[in-house]
């Protein structure tokens, strides 16, 4: 009951409302940034996409309902680089999530690092849509359904991309192709 009431008040509020706008920003900006970064491996572009998407959202805040705001933001971010030449060589840098306080043997660490390098290379040579899907899922913990919403495709298509991503990562790492 309480929840549905809350939902109702949210719907009544406009994206133009500062609180709603800020909430949408807090929930979505990081994902947009990552999404564009995974695509192009370019932080500047990712930052620009966040700016562009949110300024556009603000300009059209009367036309976009809060529920549609996320989809709108992703569409704007996506369209922004539709015409960008995709041939640019992608070189993603991944910050290390784990602090290195391991008691593993030096050989093991070396092996680890070697594997990591291989993975990095494999990721960079993945098709853009597979890499984006894989990383949104692995790093951002986005569910397949959420990624489907961001990309504007079916969940099934995302599963396919995920499968192919894993498959080609493994093939690259194991030197099969």
């Amino acid at each position: 009951m309480v929840k549905s009431n809350l939902l109702k008040t949210n719907q009544e509020l406009n994206v133009c409302d500062d609180l709603v706008y800020k909430r949408v920003f807090n929930e979505t900006s990081k994902t947009i940034f990552n999404y564009i970064y995974y695509k192009f491996g370019n932080e500047e572009k990712a930052n620009d996409a966040v700016q562009e998407a949110f300024v556009k959202l603000w300009e059209n805040c009367t036309k976009v309902s809060p529920e549609k705001a996320k989809a709108y933001l992703y569409t704007v971010a996506n369209n922004l680089y539709l015409n960008v030449i995709k041939a640019e060589k992608v070189r993603l840098k991944y910050a290390d999530a784990t602090l290195k306080t391991t008691y593993e043997s030096p050989e093991f660490i070396m092996e680890e690092n070697q594997f990591k390098e291989k993975l990095d290379n494999a990721l960079n040579s993945l098709p853009e849509n597979q890499r984006t899907t894989f990383l949104l899922n692995r790093i951002d913990g986005k569910k397949y359904a959420e990624i489907a919403e961001i990309e504007g495709v079916s969940v099934k298509a995302i599963e396919k991309r995920m499968h192919l991503a894993l498959k080609s990562l493994r093939e690259q790492i194991d030197g099969i192709c």
């Binding site: 999530a97 990383l135 995302i158 599963e159 499968h163």
Partner: protein
């Protein structure tokens, strides 16, 4: 193995049997390593506060832009309205009547579009529509005017008292308060008062005072006397004569102990006030006193 089993494996959706089978495959080890290694990946740092500030700045820039543009837009809006009003009023005004007004002691010569001539006596107003003139020779008159109408279609003078219709002639219309007089100098004039038509041949005049109309022979010199700067009257109540005197000289006339409804026959000149006052006072055996532009007529004291 199912479609997209790798995706399902990452999502922990595989059944135990499927998982067991997958684990047996030689590729599993690498997949497991990829999964573990990918768990340590992280995206570059995203400065959310900085992005928020930048957006708010961009928002403000957008707003200022609108602000800079708006005065010009406002100006355009105003200009558009003014332009519409101007063109609108131009077309509206052009359909309005042309009108001529004379003040006290003023005459005006007006040439109508068909070369008909009108001479407007003092304190009178004439209006006509120039646009419709070709189909409708129609003028509105208040006061007195002499018409010399060019031959052509029906020519109508509308007054508050009635219609005067002619085809082409010379006539005079005088329409003052409770006083309506039409004199025909040439041709035939038709007068319609309250739907009743009267034909007035040349050399006749129709006079209506206080609702009573009388037909009479006019003293015709070919033109009304006021055109030769003289007002003449024949058995007209004195107050109409005094009204005319006021109009012609732009003076204020008052009376004392005088019966203003007594009839006056005679004329007065428009150029010499002293002479005009005498022309009125002497036949009636009254006196006058002129002070600036005020004239008082009073009864001669009978000792």
């Amino acid at each position: 193995m199912r479609d997209n089993y790798l995706a399902k494996w990452l999502n922990d959706e595989l059944t135990e049997a499927e998982l067991a089978e997958f684990k047996k495959s030689e590729a599993f080890e690498t997949y497991q390593k990829i999964k573990e290694s990918a768990a340590q990946l992280d995206s570059p740092k995203f400065d959310i506060d900085k992005a928020w500030k930048a957006i708010n700045q961009n928002k403000r820039v957008e707003e200022t832009k609108v602000f800079i543009l708006s005065p010009f837009k406002k100006f355009l809006r105003v200009a558009a309205v003014v332009a519409i009003l101007l063109t609108g009023s131009f077309f509206y005004l052009s359909t309005l009547d042309e009108s001529f007004v004379t003040a006290y002691a003023e005459n005006k010569f007006i040439s109508l579009p068909d070369t008909s001539e009108v001479i407007l006596n003092a304190e009178s107003e004439l209006a006509f529509n120039e646009k419709k003139w070709n189909t409708n020779r129609n003028v509105n008159l208040e006061g007195e005017a002499y018409f010399k109408v060019a031959k052509g279609k029906k020519f109508t003078v509308e007054t508050s008292e009635g219609l005067v219709t002619v085809l082409g002639t010379q006539f005079n219309v005088e329409n003052r308060k409770d006083y309506f007089k039409v004199t025909c100098y040439e041709g035939l004039v038709s007068i319609t008062i309250n739907g009743e038509e009267t034909k007035l041949p040349a050399g006749n005049s129709l006079l209506k005072i206080n609702g009573n109309s009388t037909l009479s022979k006019a003293i015709v010199h070919g033109k009304p006397s006021w055109l030769s700067k003289e007002s003449s009257f024949k058995s007209i109540p004195l107050h109409y004569v005094l009204d005319e005197l006021q109009r012609q000289y732009n003076i204020e006339v008052s009376t004392k102990n005088i019966n203003t409804s007594q009839l006056y026959t005679g004329s007065f000149n428009h150029e010499n006030l002293d002479l005009a006052l005498k022309s009125i006072s002497v036949p009636l055996q009254i006196k006058f006193n002129l002070d600036g532009n005020k004239v008082l007529f009073y009864a001669e004291e009978t000792p």
